[in-house]
Symmetry: C2
Subunit: 330 residues, 2 copies
């Protein structure tokens, strides 16, 4: 069995780590948002890819929630003395990743190739695939005007009031070839509890990508990033309020309607079970410990297997690995 997990930043990455701990590298790949990639100080920075990469490599800075562990900041101090931009902090060791990736891209590598090589170098065995090799840039329309994602998210700390989102370049982007290669053998898709608007939507904005996910025929399940009217992490609830939609798990399920085959609610929202017009499961989705992550991952996979059986009523409930190719060709 082989699965695909869609992730953005910190929240989604928590479940990503859980999945990576319960699934072998050949049984799990990640499709990651690159809508918040940006060119900073002349370097190509891929925040969501890097958060996942460092997390899977066991090298993430869990205190900060981004960047590398045991990081030092001499570069930033020297940059500040030179009058450089310091609102986006790049650690001394982290810099090596950005410098090397930028150089690889300049030398003609695709983003998919660069990420594959660099994550392997960092010891990540699971496949990390960017949503596209083409530049797609999330722009946040706000009461203060249009902002690039990192200006909104990091520099302005999500303070401006959101009115809408734009994925610049999406119209001309194609899904990563590595994704298209993988989909025929995919047995299930997990949309991690990332921000639907700025983590998952950019992925789905790539023409043909959502259709390719659906065409695979494998169940697609999403885990709600909203628990009891609040976002576990990041600005999801604040954005929903500003967009004028209810800050509920129900609204997230609604947002994904037509794409997903199943939805995982937190126990705090158990009252919504059976009321969403899509199969749901109730799980503990607030991930504090590593065990929380693994348990939610196992729950999502179990749900996919159940949905798989429902979607293919003639197939046996337990499908062995040899049958993978057959499943996906459906």
């Amino acid at each position: 069995m082989a699965y695909l997990a869609l992730t953005g930043g910190i929240g989604g990455t928590k479940l990503g780590l859980g999945l990576a701990r319960v699934l072998r590298p050949d049984a799990l790949s990640f499709l990651v948002n690159t809508g918040d990639d940006f060119e900073h100080l002349g370097l190509h920075v891929s925040p969501d890819v890097d958060t996942l990469t460092y997390t899977l490599a066991g090298a993430s800075n869990t205190a900060l929630g981004w960047g590398r562990k045991d990081e030092t900041w001499r570069f930033m101090a020297a940059l500040e003395a030179l009058g450089g931009e310091t609102w986006f902090r790049l650690g001394d060791a982290d810099l090596a990743l950005h410098v090397t990736r930028t150089q690889m891209l300049k030398q003609g590598a695709t983003l998919t190739e660069a990420i594959r090589a660099l994550s392997a170098r960092l010891g990540v065995a699971h496949s990390i695939i960017p949503m596209s090799d083409d530049p797609v840039r999330t722009l946040v329309h706000t009461a203060d005007g249009r902002l690039s994602f990192q200006h909104y998210f990091v520099r302005d700390r999500c303070r401006p009031q959101v009115t809408s989102f734009e994925f610049a370049g999406a119209a001309d982007a194609a899904p990563s070839p590595a994704l298209l290669e993988l989909l025929p053998t995919c047995d299930g898709v997990i949309i991690c509890p990332s921000n639907p608007y700025v983590s998952i939507d950019p992925i789905l904005s790539v023409p043909g990508l959502a259709a390719a996910l659906k065409a695979c025929g494998a169940p697609i399940v999403a885990v709600s990033p909203i628990v009891g009217a609040a976002a576990i992490k990041g600005p999801t609830a604040k954005m929903m309020a500003e967009l004028g939609v209810p800050t509920t798990a129900e609204q997230v399920a609604e947002h994904y309607r037509g794409l997903i085959d199943g939805f995982i609610l937190d126990v705090a929202d158990a009252d919504l079970h059976g009321a969403l017009g899509v199969p749901t499961r109730v799980r503990h989705s607030v991930m504090v410990t590593l065990e929380d992550r693994e348990r939610l991952a196992a729950g999502a996979l179990e749900f996919i297997k159940e949905l798989s059986a429902d979607l293919r009523p003639t197939a046996p409930l337990t499908i062995d690995d040899a049958d993978d190719q057959g499943n996906c060709a459906q």
Copy 2:
């Protein structure tokens, strides 16, 4: 009185520091070799400019002889783990200078403008001017083939046997506009004891630059980098031997014939005094202490004043500052 000092790497920079300590910022500018600039890891690195900048800023790593003091190497360690090129070492704080300069150049600044802004930020009051805003790259022809300067100098540690030098791009380069602006008010030029072949010759390879120095009419004096048949610093003597010329101060004076008006010999070469076909002075030129640097600087300036009087027999020996413009218009 205003002076111009031509410098390359470490050897020349020692006298540069001495000059900067005895001359006010408005009385001294530096014209620096950029023939060993190179693009490394996607960054524009200017080794000679940086050595001078850090030295004048009091921020140089005197133990290493290059880079910044109190440097850390986290970036290099992370780069090595990623399989990156580590033969040219960039410290964490040093990186900020390369990243910022590269970004400024990408955004349209000239090298002259970038160096002016960054050296000012580092607290350097004296003017540091690159020989040209255009790329000129020193290539070393060796028994092992043609090498870029940094490959020869740093990666291969000057081991390959030199046959000749090439300054790629020189034919299309122009002197820095800041140099041309400064020359009319120049009262003397000091060629610091840098390597004549790979530090000073690249500067002189820029079309029109040597002629502009001469046309100013101010005395040009060179300080020998060869003392008693040995180079104080770097591969000068080794290069001379490989080029089949005597490794003597006399040979250096010969190398500069037609350009210089005076030559400073070390006391170890006092026997050459009066035998070089150019006015000479004998000075202690091995600079160990700060006082050595200042004393040699004062000696060079004194020599220039004497030559000035010789070159303009009708002018008074003591020229006050108000007369600067008049001197230079000669």
